[in-house]
Symmetry: none
DNA sequence: ATGCATTTGTCCGTATGTATG
DNA sequence: TCATACATACGGACAAATGCA
């Protein structure tokens, strides 16, 4: 179980955009509370390994999540789940 | 007032490089005469605290100012505003 | 001469930002 | 989209140089 926690199978040749699959998967974790506000996400390199995609694809997904206001990236430190207060 | 003396707000997400913002800010102080030739600057650790950045970022800014010929660093002593004579 | 604090110099590891092919 | 490389930035640790007690 805890299927929601597993990493989705990603078919690079599939119709859905890879970065969007990753973004939606992480977004679901955040909205489910699996990732809590202020918590740090794994590094882009780690996520790339976990999802089996390139780092640039993870970054594209991070940009998507940033645009949705779900996360916040800090140069040299990491990426964090956005805290409602700190818009 | 004395707005010129205050430390600039640094937006890590901004397009400008952090070390360049710091370098330009200190350069302005020197060129304005706020920091006089021969005068010692605060230590890198102090500057890091004042600007709210890492020491390595301050060092990167110092390197920029050294390259511009505005300052001179002495191991174990400190960093000084360059005196025109001592090129 | 000895130790101590301060300051710059150097290095390491990790993480994000940017650019190219 | 992937793969690679480099720049920027953070944080910590230690070395080297200076000056002082």
């Amino acid at each position: 179980m805890a299927k929601e926690n597993d990493f989705p199978e990603i078919d690079p040749d599939g119709p859905e955009l890879v970065y969007m699959v990753v973004a939606d998967h992480i977004a679901a974790k955040i909205e489910r509370g699996d990732l809590k506000p202020g918590q740090r996400l794994p590094s882009e390199l780690d996520l790339a390994g976990q999802y089996g995609v390139a780092r640039m694809t993870i970054r594209r997904a991070m940009k998507e999540l940033r645009d949705r206001g779900l996360i916040r990236s800090v140069h040299g430190k990491g990426t964090y789940v956005q805290v409602p207060e700190s818009s």
